[in-house]
Amino acid sequence: MLADAQSLQSQAPPGLGLGPGDRFPDLELPAVEDGTARRVSEWHGRPLMLHLFASW
């Protein structure tokens, strides 16, 4: 049986202005590899796991 989405999620940090059902903003940012301008919408078309993180 398929688990419901709610049970698969941990609590998001308070103050995060994004949640399930929101279209993720189409940020334009440089690629770390070469500085090329990329938009998050370039990954539309199939499911995407998005990590917002730091290496520290």
Binding site: P25, V32, W56
Partner: protein, 401 residues
């Protein structure tokens, strides 16, 4: 992130799921090194400005093929169920909530025609991200206009990022790092709950306020990458002192014998070696601590270089009575070459007494070094007094709160 990398490998390989990273830190090449170490091969974008105004990281989410968030902070201990959830596809959402794209993008590279600080702050970010290294001065100037008047924390945080970017560039100016620190201190004052902003200060701040050692993984990463026969990604700005240091409770200070400070009869250098001082954070409450960063380097346009044949230099701190300094003395290591002209970086921490009064408190550090003047061929030992100012402000946010 590494846990999810492993858990999603099958779906990535089968083409059922893509992975994308957005790194929210000042130096993107450190994240590249981390990715190389962990053998993550998915793309990585760089957002040093935290344009989404995330209150903390890491944040992981799964978007559907239309870019709509379907899972936020999925549970790693339910990874199998999460993968099944993705495999089963998503019911379409006809009208997803639209969250405006955070400006700026490249469209705001054109100088604004209005005198609105928010618009100038966006322009400053666009210049820093898209203008290339030769627009750093323009980005700093735009960020000055972006923080005019009663600015919010976001504009101050952005200005700090831009100043630190210039500090790490060939366009560096002596006060950039200190001004970045002050900008980040103002940002955190405006929103103490933003842990992305707080971490940027803690990265350079005192051990008392550190949650963990930020970049202590780098030596191990380099060793393991080299053992695989690869060359580790080079770093534009090597982490220093505070960025490696472990947190401290303040009880682990080791008292050491310090040699006597330089004899005052040694001639003081006031021109050959340039000094810059940065106190992190720029304002501190009584009973809290600051970390002081001092850079010494031969002045631009001079014929001065370090003379290393005399052995290590020394650095002494003479705090006011009742103030604790760690360490009070440190040797300054020198390279094996007979002469050099590198920047020498010293860090120490100062704990302010609980009874300290509000306002600036000044004391001195002393350093002793050997330099040569190529123009005259003369080499000599010189001492240098370096004024340190710690600004006490009982209303400021504590970095370790």
């Amino acid at each position: 992130v590494p846990g999810w990398h492993d858990a999603t490998s099958q779906l990535r390989e089968s083409g059922e799921l893509d992975t994308l990273g957005v790194v929210i830190e000042q130096h993107p090449d450190r994240a590249r090194l981390f990715m190389q170490w962990k053998q993550f091969e998915w793309p990585l974008l760089w957002d040093p400005f935290n344009l989404l105004e995330l209150p903390a990281v890491p944040i992981t989410m799964i978007l559907d093929g239309e870019g709509v968030i379907r899972l936020l902070q999925p549970k790693l201990d339910r990874a199998g169920d999460v993968m099944e959830f993705v495999r089963n596809g998503f019911e379409p959402i006809e009208t997803p909530n639209v969250v405006p794209s955070p400006v700026p993008d490249r469209s705001v590279l054109v100088p604004p025609s209005v005198d609105d600080p928010d618009v100038w702050s966006d322009h400053a970010v666009a210049l820093a991200l898209w203008g290339g290294p030769d627009r750093m001065d323009d980005a700093v100037a735009a960020s000055t206009r972006g923080t005019a008047g009663d600015s919010d924390g976001r504009s101050w945080f952005r200005r700090g990022v831009i100043l630190r970017m210039r500090h790490d560039s060939k366009h560096r100016q002596g006060s950039d790092f200190a001004e970045a620190t002050d900008s980040w201190t103002r940002a955190l004052d405006a929103d103490p709950a933003n842990y992305v902003w707080r971490r940027r200060l803690q990265q350079y701040g005192p051990r008392l306020a550190k949650p963990y050692a930020f970049y202590d993984w780098i030596p191990l990463a380099r060793d393991e990458i080299s053992d695989r026969g690869e060359s580790p990604v080079p770093l534009a700005a090597e982490p220093e002192g505070a960025e490696f240091s472990e947190p401290s409770s303040g009880e682990d200070r080791v008292a050491t014998e310090s040699p006597a400070p330089p004899d005052p009869r040694i001639v003081e250098d006031t021109t050959w070696i340039e000094t810059t001082v940065n106190v992190v954070p720029s304002r501190v409450r009584p009973a809290d601590a600051v970390r002081v960063h001092v850079d010494l380097r031969p002045g631009d346009g001079t014929e001065i270089h370090w003379n290393n044949e005399t052995g290590p230099g020394g650095f002494w701190v003479e705090p006011p009575a009742g103030w604790a300094v760690d360490p009070e003395f440190q040797e300054i290591e020198v390279p094996p070459e007979a002469t050099s002209d590198e920047r020498r970086h010293i860090e120490f921490e100062v704990r302010v007494p609980a009874s300290a009064s509000t306002g600036p408190h000044r004391f001195e550090a002393q350093t002793l070094y050997a330099v040569c003047d190529d123009e005259t061929g003369v080499c000599m030992i010189r001492r240098r007094s370096i004024p340190i100012t710690v600004l006490i402000d009982g209303t400021v946010v504590g970095l370790g709160d």
